[in-house]
Symmetry: D2
Subunit: 404 residues, 4 copies
């Protein structure tokens, strides 16, 4: 396949081995200028320190670093959380939610530097390539997309290291890496190694952030969370920004071993994969928001929110953030979240988070109503009428059958 | 309201204070013979010992006891479990699933004794009256239904005890009872007392069966479960009947504090209530079945199963078991469960159950496929085509907008 | 049942026989002042002329007439139309959509006159009682609700006429009325008479507004409609308000026999009923909006809109307009309608409306794209990759089975 | 791309220009034996007469013709019809339903002749390639798939004709063909020509089978259909097989101009296309089945059937027939269809089919019930209780807000 003509490409640069190879590879294979774009989504100082120098050393002509941490929590994580989305019943979508925000900022960078192409370091068997390129298609279909992992013939870390060595590009990456990991403020994922056999339990090495439940404190910790319109705005009385809330709860969750899951999931590209995910703060946030919903949402609203949560989990996982369908679903769940105000106390203990206390100004539960004079709000005799009409079709069907 | 003319009524008799009052009350107010029907759904020996004598002493003309334990697990619990139903995201439907089977057996008893009416001891503010009467409407719309709690003017335990004392009917019930409880083999529920304020955390008294996570063993226990067509057929290598599986896992769950939930839920009759539920064995079974599903169900099947689970949770909760809609949904989930075979190891530890190992002959995950020659099953170059078509509408939409 | 104490009640007054009886009945039975509230929802001059005098003659202390025609089309009909709602696949919800707007204006009237109760003339077997009282519960739960048809013992037109005659209240209503009808700007419904046997075809009398297809012109008529954000803003080049559009298209639809349906439907109260509905303009509007959607909505958005349409049809039919769930669904469909701009030509011919031409600035269909250079937007070789990944799970499942 | 090694390929042969070219092309390019497989799905004698000779003349080593007409109606069309599937609200899925049955029979043919590859004549921009290859993946993932249109560089009819002429293969195909058509017993589709501009109305040439409404008889025709378990078993009293029913109703529909639609639809491969479809008999069958459902299905069953219909329409369109998801959905709708028995009279008149009379032994509508003694089945006073509980959450919410 002959390559398209490209002048300047913006690559989503992580500082890892693969994107370090991608920079010189793009220059050699496309004869183009390469701009490194670094998204700070809270992956941690380890990955960010010195990243500018590293990118330049790899041959980038420019490096842009965008701090997306607050925006990610406010504009991507909270809208998703309000839907209740848990992919395949378990996964809190940590990697999935980070991709559209990175892709969007990368496109903005490309516009600023006048690039005509975008590149990413995702492999050809994973979901992230679809998420990046789905975002690119929606935001910048006029830009070329280069996915080196689907083009080049490098197939091992050794070959990548050799590639850099041959070009005298410094690299501190190790020759072997057992697990494949992806981290941002929300979560860290771990794949590979012993996890490749689903009959293997995860071992201690499979967990990167959190204490094991066994190693967590023997004393439970209780945290009070204030919720407004489906978002947590204060922790133990301290008002915090969205990202600060997450950081605060991450610390607590890590300590108590909260937020570990081990799942075999269906990738969008048709195969299954197995991963361990740690989402310490996010798991606490999910429990807290659902607890306030218990007070506020009526029966049919709750059911609809559950249905939307299932749909949203697939949409977000599948990289369809920038679509009319996603906007429509988020509009629906945003509407439902308007009344989700209140306070929750959560208990953290040896791997578990449990909402133990909850209250809301919009609560439809109320002792006062429950003990209200019967004639005012609820009269037990009403139940008979309700039941008769509620079961009328059943009654007619069977009476009908009995006459035959 | 003048009462209908009734000759013989079959009452769902529990041996508790309220159904003990119902027997003489029915005789006095309807001038009819009263047959006591006792359903053994695994509520425990405490409630069943001497129940026949107690019913006769209360004035029943006959007592029928039906052992429904195996049938309940096989024909009500498993079909529901296969849907993945968790009412409002949490509740394993323990009380809900028991009602239709009791109602059905009660109707069969009524047919056998030639009764012309059915009675139950459910209050006028709860779900159970709808579940019983919904089943009666579907199974025996020709029989009268009497719901004493919606008719009489007894409003306290004291009045009920006085009622029995005045008639010299022996009763060992206590004057005060803080919590309202319902138990069967699957679960025990607790309402009332401190739970009436949602800002109160449940205290130790709110939990009837399970150890607290704190009191659970410091050592995890691992259990191996064999799954066939969405049902657990063996525990640690021992083949067991459905009810035996449940009993076995109940013991383990109780010990490790597994299966506690504390929820504010929407009742079908329009108000919210708060309850603590303990479903020790059931929680383990749910985790195990979902784990095998992770291996077996493809992406769109999994999503549909999740949607059906939401629907089924409401249907079962709402007492709509004997409806065409319920049959239709169960037919769909039964079909999906055909391939859900495999083995799971679950870890029980301080309130949590976690599937740590899983395998299935029908697994769509496979190391072998993952490492298969690319040209055989998955070729990375296929991904580009997939992504282009997958995101084509986004591309066209934005290209279109860019031209304006 | 002793009646609640009421000082002033606002009754939804239609001028028909039943609401004429309701006014004196309320005064006699509740000893209260009665204010007549008349909603002009386009039911026609026949029903409105002299209605003020008629109400006063029946004993009303005051009469309020509210012109709700434009508001009904703009704020109730269009939001519903955008969802695509067709109750049970057929019914355009004409009566259902009118109830919440009437109830809301009636509550506003009650607030203005300081009433403490609301009354309506709906029977106890229909949907409208639920729609009115559902709206009252959401908007004014502090006001008493009186439903005379469920209270009094009048059961025939003759008794109603006698009731008025005894009180010297003039009434021109006829003794017999074969069909029960409800009309507003959107539709007219007909029930009763020969329609009560579903094995009877509707006869000419069952249709009140429209020409029969047989009597419609032998020449088709073509109408050009301009659509903006899911609403029709011009007819044959003439810009019109929402209500004007409806009136204009009603005339055309009536002439060509468009918009007749004959349906057996499930009432919310559990029984089935059979009705003939005529929605001439609305049927044209539905066809036009759906036609523009064909151009604009992508596959998954279209599917979601269809799902929301099913949900909305039940919600609107069931009188749940003023609920969080309804707001949430309308927020979702409003979002999808943002791009639904374009022009449609519809053909009206002997009972049918067919969109024959359609175009949109937001069309995802485009000859230009279809014939675009393959490398730019669609490359046929991409299809292979798409198909391979799209069917990968099937492939793995069967390869797996073949190995056994 | 180097071609895979193939010994014997079975090609889905239609006798048209493209599949006539495919036979020699496969032999030359794959050096393999080519077996022609012809599926008789009711496309008509014109296409089948002499097809064996034609295939042999093109170079096929063997020709197999399978009569799939009855099986198609019984096992593919009826299950789909029971779901109520209408793709994007309009399309009766005529082409979509034929593909899986052809693919399945083609695979069976391949097994019989010991072929190691399958080929089809679908283009690279359409849905049919996905439907065929999706079925192949599910039924025979071990066989190679060859899609010549995605491989070769022939891009016009002229080139195809030249290709045959150069090889002295006789061909009667014309040089130009304005419309692209696909026919089977169920429908005929027409694409291309003037239809490529959505602002063009279809002209007379766009319709291949049916009379125009204008040319249809001025007299309506009434047909009585007997329905059992969701299938039509007799027409005007004559018991007929599934395929015979379809043929009978096709004749009637064609005469009266029934079953024309003109739609812009979303293809699975991401682009929109515009087509005219004629489904004369099928449109009558759909109306009849839906009419009996109106009598038989209760409210929530009807809503679920509608939801399943939306899902099924996408599944069938998308070629996912042989998937667990499709089986699950069909199991659900089959269950709902068990009671769909009855009789319907449909009126055919100038393009329209309307059910005018309907009855069912399982009807939940019944004059008898409607006029039943109130105390037996429906008591109007029950409505109050129903409404109070039904709207309780709204009441509590607003009472709560009013207190603030």
């Amino acid at each position: 396949m002959s390559k398209v003509k490209v002048n300047k490409v913006v690559v989503a640069y992580s500082g890892g081995l693969d994107t370090s190879v991608i920079i010189p590879w793009l220059k050699e294979n496309y004869g183009c200028e390469v701009v490194a774009f670094v998204a700070d989504v809270g992956q941690g100082e380890d990955e960010l320190v010195g990243i500018e120098d590293k990118a330049m050393a790899s041959g980038a002509s420019e490096v842009y670093i965008a701090d997306l941490k607050e925006e990610m929590v406010a504009d991507y994580i909270y809208p998703t959380l309000k839907t209740g989305a848990l992919y395949e019943g378990k996964y809190l979508l940590g990697t999935s939610m980070a991709r559209p925000i990175i892709a969007k900022a990368q496109v903005e960078c490309a516009r600023k530097v006048g690039a005509d192409a975008l590149a990413h370091g995702c492999t050809g068997k994973g979901n992230d390539q679809v998420r990046f390129e789905g975002a690119f298609a929606a935001l910048a279909p006029d830009l070329h997309v280069i996915a080196p992992w689907r083009e080049w013939d490098l197939v091992s870390r050794e070959q990548c290291l050799d590639y850099l060595a041959e070009r005298n590009i410094p690299c501190t990456a190790s020759l072997t890496k057992i697990y494949s990991r992806d981290a941002n403020a929300w979560h860290i994922s771990t794949e590979g190694g012993v996890l490749e056999d689903t009959w293997n339990a995860p071992n201690d090495d499979c967990w990167a952030w959190t204490n094991s439940p066994e190693a967590a404190p023997d004393e439970a910790e209780y945290v009070t969370l204030k919720v407004q319109k489906g978002e947590i705005v204060a922790v133990d009385g301290e008002e915090l920004s969205p990202y600060q809330v997450l950081m605060n709860l991450n610390d607590k969750g890590v300590k108590h071993g909260v937020g570990r899951i081990d799942i075999v999931e269906n990738r969008l590209v048709g195969m299954k994969s197995r991963g361990c995910y740690e989402t310490p703060g996010g798991t606490i946030m999910m429990e807290a928001l659902r607890a306030v919903e218990q007070l506020v949402l009526d029966k049919s609203s709750f059911e609809f929110r559950e249905e939307l949560g299932v749909k949203a989990s697939h949409l977000v996982y599948d990289g369809r953030w920038f679509t009319p369908l996603c906007k429509s679903i988020l509009a629906a769940t945003e509407e439902l979240a308007q009344d989700v105000n209140g306070e929750v106390v959560v208990k953290l203990y040896k791997g578990q988070v449990t909402a133990t206390q909850k209250r809301s100004e919009n609560s439809l539960y109320s002792e006062e109503f429950a003990t209200f004079g019967e004639d005012e709000v609820y009269n037990q005799s009403h139940a008979e009428g309700f039941i008769r009409l509620y079961s009328l079709a059943s009654r007619i069907r069977t009476l009908n059958a009995q006459k035959k």
